[in-house]
């Protein structure tokens, strides 16, 4: 408590434009409080402290219970499969493309005066389509297709990852390739995968766990190289194309589905994209719920991302 009081006062001091003597008073006050609180036997706390009564009870409970084997799933399960599609457009102006600072291996990375540009906000000029929006299912009760055994390709060329956002499936091998005449390394955050990829060679990476929100893919040798990757258990994930369109086929029909939407430059929590749609309710975490009928192809139409939902 004493610590917290002191810290709160020092925060105040450094933030609020108060005259100095107020600060002095504050600190002096906290000294008094602190001394009082430091009386014998009082615990020094920083941050919220655990409720030990509850903790003890919880520990006993965890010790006494055993994991139940597969509780009967009460969630409604439907029959059949359906497709969800739509198209993201950006209503603001994307601004001029920003050239990246390329200062290594320039004989390859900026050969013939080639320039690399920041790709965090790609808007199609004619259709206004917003590319690289990620959309994935959060709660699949069943999956139509098996995990494919053929590998996906994660390629890099001209010192740039070909796909700014890469979607994969847990258990499906990914051929991490380097099509450049120089060496790269590919570092996928949160997976401990960070591998040297010599010129023209490739290596296999098989994601073992879901990522939740997309994680970064970088090359430490060429710090401007950046992409994102998302891996899902069920493979129900889409990345919007250059015109902003996306399609997820073979979704479980006849049961409530919840989708998560993400974009690298979104101002929402951790990149979550929340839209205001008349017939589709999105929450602050960038999620919406929907139920599809068997064999239905539901088109969400044009999903407009307002200018202020994207970091300028």
């Amino acid at each position: 408590m004493m610590t917290r009081t002191l810290r709160i006062f020092s925060q105040r001091l450094s933030v609020a434009p108060q005259p100095r003597w107020v600060g002095c008073l504050g600190l002096a006050g906290s000294v008094v409080v602190g001394l009082a609180a430091a009386g014998c036997g009082s615990a020094v706390v920083s941050g919220p402290s655990p409720d030990f009564e509850v903790a003890r009870a919880l520990r006993d409970e965890l010790g006494a219970s055993t994991s139940e084997t597969e509780t009967a799933d009460t969630a409604p399960q439907g029959i059949g499969w359906a497709t969800l599609k739509g198209r993201f457009v950006f209503s603001g102006s994307p601004g001029a493309a920003i050239a990246l600072v390329v200062d290594k291996d320039t004989q390859v990375c900026s050969k013939d005066g080639m320039k690399l540009y920041d790709r965090s906000l790609l808007v199609d000029e004619s259709t206004k389509g917003l590319a690289n929006v990620v959309l994935f299912l959060r709660n699949s009760s069943r999956v139509k297709s098996e995990v494919p055994t053929e590998s996906l390709l994660l390629d890099q060329e001209n010192c740039e990852f070909l796909a700014p956002v890469f979607a994969g499936r847990v258990g499906q091998p990914i051929d991490v390739k380097n099509s450049d005449p120089i060496g790269h390394n590919t570092n996928i955050a949160g997976t401990s995968f960070n591998q040297l990829i010599p010129a023209g060679e490739s290596t296999i990476f098989t994601p073992a766990r879901e990522t939740g929100l997309p994680v970064t893919v970088t090359c430490n040798i060429h710090p401007w190289m950046k992409a994102y990757a998302v891996f899902r258990e069920d493979g129900y994930v889409a990345v919007s194309a250059a015109d902003g369109s996306f399609t997820i086929p073979d979704l479980p029909a006849g049961e409530p589905l919840e989708f998560q939407v993400w974009h690298e430059r979104s101002t929402g929590r951790s990149g979550a994209v929340s839209l205001e749609q008349p017939d589709l309710k999105w929450n602050a975490k960038g999620r919406f719920k929907i139920e599809l009928k068997a064999d239905e192809v539901r088109d969400l139409g044009t999903l407009e991302v307002p200018a202020d939902a994207i970091k300028g």
Binding site: S10, G34, G47, L62
Partner: protein, 458 residues
């Protein structure tokens, strides 16, 4: 003035630490750390105010120590992560309570059967420094480790800010120097080796004077703190995954806490013992000079690409503007806060309705809190330093085998990538031989300002 204050600050840290040592935990790291940091923040803006704070800070431990009673030490919550995840105070408290249920307190650690940890060893390492009735010394972690690594194992003990490199933060569960594959945890023997040998070139000393049993207990305790820290991160991140119906509270049943959160962490530690890197014999059918020559070509070539970070001179002066994973967290947090404050500064509330204004205020309050958490609960980020290979000092050990591990698996948590799979084992051995030759590759005519390209010299 500034110099005086910083001198005072140092003095203060010393005194409080001394008091903590003398009073044996009247003042756990938890009090002295935030106090010192709070002062540092204040000093930045209003130097002289802090004098008062100093005086108070000096008094408090003395008063506290006078009572002859020991206040219970407590774990510090990972407030940087909780600010990132925008946890509310009651959510932070739920995390703290779950952690107390699963792991106990610094004085009374608990190891559930699922943890696979030896509670007797933990008890030897935990708690205040003291001797029991048969004269056996307890509280080893706080005696030897906590001043750098912190009571919580967050790498933020009172001395941490003065060290370079910073002490390891165990909480993400990532360790650099080990005999296992990159993504795997270290084995128990790996931790024991670090404790026994120290880490050359860092502030981590050798604890070879401690008995095997004590080192064993400390290694077990590091594992315990690391598992605890990883579980904490998993719990905090789990809030984002909650459904609307959960109303912002984590489930507290066994399926979630044990099966979903605790076991994956514990299993990754248990799997480490079987994830040893398979090291083939060093090729013997090649002269050492030829092997070194091959290694040199690999070092500079496009295949192994060591040159990009360690530099053409091998002085570690290649890629130096990158961050390791621990520092990256702080850098990204600073970027988030800065960007958020800039956007808020450009926003006008003029045409907002009441809800939007409330949202705007909440956003500002969050940024404010995030900023102050970073000020008090994180060390200033530092860029990486690729190893200077001409010194012959290698953190993770100087045996050829140690260098083989580093090149094969890379260094987890650091930008150093793995060569495994794309560079054949015999080539890794050639690089090892070349690296080992570098400290002896001296050219007497070389000026310090004109390092020569290593490839041209040999």
């Amino acid at each position: 003035m500034n110099m005086l204050v910083s001198m005072f600050e140092r003095e203060y840290v010393t005194v409080t630490n001394f008091a903590a040592q003398a009073g044996m935990m009247t003042l756990p790291g938890d009090l002295s750390e935030p106090l010192a940091m709070g002062c540092r923040r204040v000093r930045d803006r209003r130097g002289h105010v802090c004098w008062l704070g100093m005086a108070a800070a000096l008094l408090i431990p003395l008063v506290g120590a006078g009572c002859g009673q020991t206040a219970a030490a407590s774990y510090r919550l990972n407030l940087v992560e909780s600010a990132k995840q925008r946890l509310r105070p009651e959510q932070e408290q739920q995390v703290a309570t779950i952690l107390a249920a699963l792991f106990g307190t610094p004085d009374e650690p608990v190891a559930l059967a699922e943890c696979g940890l030896d509670e007797a060893k933990l008890k030897l390492a935990a708690g205040p420094v003291r001797s029991d009735i048969v004269g056996r010394k307890n509280g080893l972690y706080r005696e030897h480790c906590a001043h750098c690594h912190g009571v919580t194992g967050d790498g933020m003990g009172p001395t941490a800010a003065f060290l370079n490199p910073y002490p390891r933060d165990y909480r993400p569960g990532v360790f650099k120097f080990k005999s296992t594959e990159r993504a795997d945890k270290p084995t128990h023997a790996d931790l024991v080796m670090v404790l026994r040998n120290g880490l050359a070139g860092s502030s981590m000393p050798s604890f070879a004077l401690l008995s095997d049993a004590k080192i064993d207990a400390l290694a077990e305790y590091v594992k315990y703190l690391s598992i605890r820290g990883e579980v904490e991160l998993a719990l905090m991140r789990a809030f984002f995954e909650l459904d609307d119906e959960d109303q912002g509270r984590l489930p507290d049943d066994r399926e979630f806490l044990i099966d979903e959160i605790l076991l994956p962490v514990v299993e990754s530690w248990q799997a480490a013992e079987d994830a040893l890197i398979d090291v083939p014999e060093m090729p013997t059918d090649i002269d050492l000079a030829d092997s070194i020559a091959k290694g040199r070509e690999l070092y500079h070539g496009n295949k192994a690409n060591c040159v990009k970070c360690h530099g053409v001179t091998a002085l570690g002066d290649g890629q130096v503007n990158d961050y390791d994973d621990w520092n990256k967290v702080v850098v990204q947090a600073h970027t988030t806060v800065q960007g958020g404050l800039e956007r808020a500064g450009e926003t006008s509330t003029w045409e907002m309705d009441a809800d939007e204004v409330a949202e705007y205020r909440a956003e500002l309050a969050w940024l404010d809190r995030y900023e102050s958490v970073l000020g008090g609960n994180a060390l200033p980020p530092r860029t990486i330093r690729p190893r200077n290979l001409r010194q012959g000092i290698y953190r993770g050990g100087m045996r050829p085998l140690d260098l083989y591990y580093r090149i094969h698996a890379g260094i987890n948590g650091a930008p150093m990538p793995a060569a495994k799979g794309t560079v054949p084992p015999e080539d890794i051995w050639h690089i090892v031989n070349y690296i080992r030759s570098l400290p002896y590759d001296f050219n007497g005519t070389l000026g310090a300002d004109k390092p020569m390209v290593a490839r041209d010299r040999l």
